[in-house]
């Protein structure tokens, strides 16, 4: 389309008198405005798409960070636990307690949700280890604990990740 326009443009120039070459013709001007509008439209669409991708990326990042934080703490405590209050076998529970004794004495760690915060209370000291968490549940099969939860980003169109991880308790 552009090429044919250029051809028209050059043939018109050589065919017509000199005085007509001064300034733009209406066709040239229309074509120019049309092209500018087309390019502008594409650019605006691209910018909006990029903005959407950026928000999605931030949401994804938020979910990944919270999942990682939650799994690291759970892995650490469950791998040390010698016993737990999670019924074996039994229905899933939303609050789990893990007990163990090491060289520094006896320890008790409790995991539970407060709102959407995953709270780890160890030896009476509570701390929030992950945010935007829901549906926390613990299921036990022998020394294997299955921890399930969902992390949902506070931004973006509900970007979330549902985790179901098997973690082994210290046997005996």
């Amino acid at each position: 389309m552009i090429l044919s326009r250029i051809r028209d443009f050059t043939s018109l120039r050589s065919a017509t008198s000199r005085s007509r070459q001064l300034g733009f013709t209406l066709v040239e001007l229309t074509a120019g405005i049309g092209l500018s509008a087309l390019i502008g439209g594409v650019m605006v669409t691209a910018i909006f798409e990029l903005n959407k991708a950026s928000v999605n990326g931030q949401a994804q990042q938020a979910v990944t960070v919270q999942v990682r934080a939650a799994t690291l703490w759970l892995e650490r405590d469950i791998s040390r636990a010698a016993s737990s209050n999670v019924p074996d076998p039994g229905a899933p529970v939303a609050t789990a307690q893990f007990d163990w004794t090491d060289e520094s004495g006896a320890h008790v760690c409790i995991y539970a949700l407060t709102g959407t915060d995953l709270i780890r209370t160890c030896d009476g000291t509570p701390s929030s280890v992950a945010r935007y968490i829901s549906g926390l549940q613990f299921t036990r099969s022998g020394s294997l604990l299955n921890v399930g939860f969902t992390a949902t980003a506070p931004i973006g169109a509900g970007k979330s990740e549902t985790v179901s991880i098997n973690l082994a308790m210290r046997s005996g």
Binding site: A46, G57, Q61, V63, S164, I165, A168
Partner: protein
């Protein structure tokens, strides 16, 4: 943007020069036209490459973020699989263990190989986590029959 402005200025000044040349009877307008076309093409090429470079760098950020997310999921899947295998009854080499149930589009596999210099009571278990055919995590654990 600066390139466009420069081109526009050149274009306009070129036109004025051609006009002046015409009124004074010189014949330089034909060569002026050629230069303007080439200049326009160069400007378009520069704009095109600049825009492409900008969009490429912006999209690479989005790709990195999504790869990090996939890798994060693959990490906890590998941990889950490893713990499940460690707690399962020992299977003679070569054999496989029951896999965890992964989320949609993820595939989890495991394979056992003998340990060099070891006996039948020890094996290496290789765990592979892939997403739509792309291998994200490969990890090895040792399992003993005890």
């Amino acid at each position: 943007m600066i390139a466009i402005l420069k081109q526009t200025l050149k274009f306009l000044s070129g036109r004025q020069a051609a006009e002046a040349a015409r009124s004074s009877g010189h014949r330089s307008s034909r060569s002026q036209r050629g230069v303007i076309l080439v200049e326009a093409l160069v400007a378009i090429a520069i704009m095109g490459s600049a825009t492409t470079a900008m969009l490429t760098s912006l999209s690479s950020g989005a790709i990195t973020t999504s790869r990090t997310a996939l890798r994060g999921t693959a990490d906890w899947l590998a941990t889950s699989e490893a713990n499940l295998i460690q707690e399962a009854p020992f299977q003679a080499t070569p054999g496989t263990y029951t896999n965890i149930a992964p989320p949609t589009d993820y595939v989890v596999t495991n394979a056992t190989t003998p340990v060099i210099g070891g006996d039948a009571q020890i094996q290496t278990v290789t765990i592979t986590i892939s997403y739509q055919g792309l291998v994200l995590v490969t990890t090895e654990i040792l399992k003993v029959d005890r």
